[in-house]
């Protein structure tokens, strides 16, 4: 294609068709609920994993603490500040991983990444993600995907590192 707009051929665009209605997809009730009342915000005593994740560009920052018993995440605390998406995503993550084995967490992080990228996620995986499905509206707002992923990527990496020790 060498048409007049060839310089623009592959623009990703925002991918959303427009109007305020789209916002309903992004800010579902579940997300607003987790944003306003984040779960698992209590500090964890002598955590096995204790990390700060942040995105200096938007200022989101979260403090993630985990207790790991053998192969199981026994306790989670996540506090911080960020936009509705990063905040709700962190809260949903905390809720999800508590009591899960490392391989379950790994699987969840992988499925969540795929969900946001619009790649294939099986029904079984979807079911395990539970309420987190509410975040799939973020797909229509690609620039906000990094908000949704911030704590997930941090926690996933930290857990791998911890287990590798």
């Amino acid at each position: 294609m060498m048409g007049d707009r060839s310089g623009f051929g592959g623009i990703g665009g925002t991918g959303n068709a427009g109007g305020l209605d789209e916002l309903n997809d992004l800010y579902e009730a579940i997300i607003l609920d987790h944003y306003r009342s984040p779960r698992n915000t209590a500090p964890v005593d002598s955590p096995d994993i204790d990390l700060e994740v942040n995105n200096p560009f938007c200022g989101d920052e979260f403090h993630i603490q985990l207790k790991v018993d053998g192969d199981t995440v026994s306790q989670v605390g996540i506090t911080g500040r960020g936009c509705a998406i990063s905040q709700a995503s962190a809260s949903l993550l905390a809720e999800l991983v508590e009591g899960k084995t490392s391989s379950e967490v790994r699987a969840a992080v992988s499925a969540f990444r795929r969900l946001l990228k619009g790649e294939e996620v099986s029904d079984e995986e979807m079911e395990k993600l539970g309420d987190i499905e509410a975040l799939s509206g973020v797909r229509k707002f690609p620039v906000r995907i990094k908000c949704a992923l911030l704590s997930w990527v941090g926690l996933g990496d930290a857990l791998e590192e911890h287990l590798a020790k």
Partner: protein, 428 residues
């Protein structure tokens, strides 16, 4: 000042509230992008401090150059090269006139304000700042006017001093005499803050700098586009700005400097046009301004910058400023009437340029940005490349609406309605 042509309203008052001097509808008609729809809504572009839109005259300058004149400049004896050189140098002369520079050679083309600042730090300041000397900037600088000085100070064992910003958003001028002292070599300050909108007393600072034998560099990225700026009246030693923030293209900026300062400075980059003579052993430098323009310059964008300057000159910079003052007053009024809002910077709109930065108690700036975008309204959110300043307000991000010649009160109303609409989600 001319009173004809698009965007100029010669009748005394066609709209009692605004646009007395500027026919905004005529101006808007010159900007093709303003007819674009965003998410099915008309575009309301309020991100002008980041970059401005371009009138058809500027776009046509590019198109005409590439369709009719394009050639490399200097040294060519063929017609296209001669025409391209003339047009390129004419644009320099226009810019010089626009800021009242005494000679066109004192206008150096760079990529942007950031490069202009780096150039001065790496040449003049690198040669003049020594151990124990100090460099003075302010607490409201853009990263581009902080980091080059941090690096230079570290390299030279010099001190980097900050003029403080008060709670009122104004520069604390009380102790400039102790901060700008006999060991100060350069004072580098923003003319207008891109976060607070504050207009700083640059002439007064220049005075103090000169008293102690220092030079003053003025970051005019947010002033030259918006108000009449006269480098000689301010007595600026150096002054920087970017074309893309003043209706011009991306990729080109200006460093103005006093002739004698520029003349004694070592070059910044080497090669191409900046050279007079080269042997296998050595080289000598060309005269100003070419000494600072290595390689093939950004010819087309320089010429388009000339067109941007023409456009602004036709409007008249007094009128541009007046228009923005009215929008700012109206915007401050409207936005501050909302609940949950804190505005940063001077409360008195007369003390600031067309920039309103604010935070909302219940809505994170990014959520607000996304929600407004759904309504076609473009604002900027984040740290605005002024992290230390934004953090000093206890936040890591803010929302910012900033205005230009094509903005209207109706657009400010849309912004305010848009914030209200967004509150539906976030405020219970």
């Amino acid at each position: 000042m001319s009173t004809t042509g698009p965007g100029i309203d010669v009748s005394p008052a066609n709209d009692v509230d605004i646009g007395r001097m500027l026919d905004v509808e005529a101006v808007r008609a010159d900007f093709p992008i303003l007819s674009r729809k965003i998410n099915d809504r008309p575009l309301v572009y309020l991100d002008n401090a980041a970059t401005t839109q371009k009138p058809r005259q500027v776009i046509a300058a590019l198109t005409n150059f590439y369709e009719q004149t394009n050639a490399n400049v200097h040294r060519g004896v063929h017609t296209l090269s001669i025409e391209a050189t003339d047009a390129y140098e004419l644009a320099r002369t226009k810019v010089a006139k626009f800021i009242n520079a005494p000679r066109p050679e004192t206008v150096i083309w760079t990529r942007n304000t950031s490069e202009s600042l780096n150039l001065v730090a790496a040449t003049w300041a690198n040669a003049h700042v020594g151990e124990g000397d100090n460099i003075v900037i302010t607490a409201m600088e853009h990263h581009s006017n902080i980091v080059p000085w941090q690096q230079l100070a570290a390299r030279k064992n010099a001190e980097l001093r900050y003029l403080a910003v008060g709670k009122d958003g104004l520069l604390d001028m009380a102790n400039i005499e102790s901060i700008i002292d006999s060991r100060t070599k350069i004072v580098s300050v923003t003319h207008v803050s891109n976060v607070l909108g504050t207009v700083n007393p640059v002439a007064e600072l220049a005075n103090r700098a000169h008293e102690v034998g220092a030079v003053i560099l003025i970051d005019a990225a947010q002033s030259v586009p918006h108000m009449p700026v006269d480098v000689q009246a301010i007595d600026a030693d150096f002054l920087c700005f970017s074309a893309h923030k003043m209706l011009g293209p991306t990729g080109i900026g200006v460093l103005y400097g006093k002739y004698d300062l520029l003349d004694e400075m070592p070059p910044y980059m080497y090669g191409g046009d900046m050279i007079l003579e080269v042997t296998y052993e050595d080289a000598t430098w060309n005269d100003l301004p070419y000494k600072f323009e290595a390689g093939t310059p950004n010819i087309a964008d320089a010429i388009a910058t000339g067109a941007a300057v023409d456009y602004l000159s036709e409007l008249g910079m007094e009128n541009v400023w007046e228009h923005e003052q009215q929008l700012t007053a109206y915007g401050m009024d409207q936005i501050s009437s909302l609940n949950h809002i804190t505005i940063f910077g001077p409360e008195d709109p007369a003390l600031k340029g067309g920039v309103i930065s604010f935070v909302h108690d219940k809505i994170h700036p990014h959520d607000l940005g996304t929600a407004l975008d759904q309504q076609g309204i473009a604002i900027r959110t984040g740290h605005h490349c002024a992290m230390p300043l934004v953090r000093s307000y206890g936040v890591v991000a803010a929302a910012r609406a900033s205005f230009y010649v094509y903005n209207t009160k109706t657009e400010i109303d849309a912004l305010v309605d848009g914030i209200r609409e967004t509150e539906r989600y976030f405020v219970r």
